[in-house]
């Protein structure tokens, strides 16, 4: 069991309804995709925001990573849509 900070941005944040939370993850969650599935299973805005992984990007400890990246030892995980700055 590890407690981590979860951050959400743009329409992911709006659908879920909050931009930040702390969560204690089950030990069997090993990668970002597993975390997304676990959060989506909460239903409601989580399912709406996180149901389609092809629309999501992630950062682990503020580094952009693919969704199969490990989250073991992570302190902060951010979930968001593809970036659109500039």
């Amino acid at each position: 069991m590890a407690t981590i900070d979860l951050l959400y941005f743009a329409w992911v944040r709006e659908s879920i309804g909050i931009g930040h939370e702390r969560a204690t993850l089950p030990a069997e969650i090993a990668d970002v995709a597993g975390l997304i599935d676990w959060l989506a299973a909460r239903g409601g805005g989580y399912a709406e925001a996180l149901g389609d992984k092809t629309r999501l990007r992630a950062a682990v400890d503020q580094v952009f990573v693919p969704l199969d990246a490990s989250i073991v030892g992570a302190r902060e995980i951010a979930l968001f849509p593809p970036v659109t700055g500039g």
Binding site: F9, A59, A78, V83, T84, G85, G86
Partner: protein
């Protein structure tokens, strides 16, 4: 010399260009991105990932400084609410000769669009809409891969 700034204040392009011209190179290039006036957008809101944004911009500036041996690189990005015609982003480079300054400037804005955690939300009369990813932006960033 690297200058990176994420700000909710207006971007002073003249002041930034002056600083780049004092960096000791013979060439300065820049790109300014504006909120488009077309398609009825009344407000553009820029959200970002506060703790990660400046690092992402600095990493790009460091890569450009090394790859093109620049004298200076400046990357400034607005956040918050903006009106059509306002400046969203400024990228400037200084180098000994024009080719390096121009190429590094294009590299910085192309990669910023895919590598830095900013999200645009457009407001028109009826409501707000998050801007989607564009394949052309992905292709433009990919051309700088080595």
């Amino acid at each position: 010399m690297i200058r990176v700034l994420v700000t909710d204040a207006a971007i002073d392009v003249a002041g930034e260009l002056d600083a780049l011209e004092r960096a000791g190179g013979g060439a300065v290039a820049s790109f300014t991105g504006l909120v488009r006036e077309d398609s009825g957008v009344e407000e553009l809101f820029l959200e970002h990932y506060p703790d990660a944004t400046e690092k992402a911009l600095r990493d790009l500036a460091v890569e450009a400084m090394q790859r093109w041996s620049l004298a200076a690189a400046t990357v400034i990005h607005r956040v918050g609410a903006m009106k059509p015609g306002e400046r969203i982003v400024f990228v400037g480079t200084a180098s000994a000769h024009r080719a390096a300054a121009l190429e590094a400037c294009a590299f910085l804005i192309d990669r910023l669009k895919t590598d830095a955690p900013f999200w645009k939300r457009e407001t028109r009369g009826q409501g707000a809409r998050w801007v989607g990813e564009r394949d052309s932006d992905r292709d433009a960033a990919d051309r700088w891969k080595r």
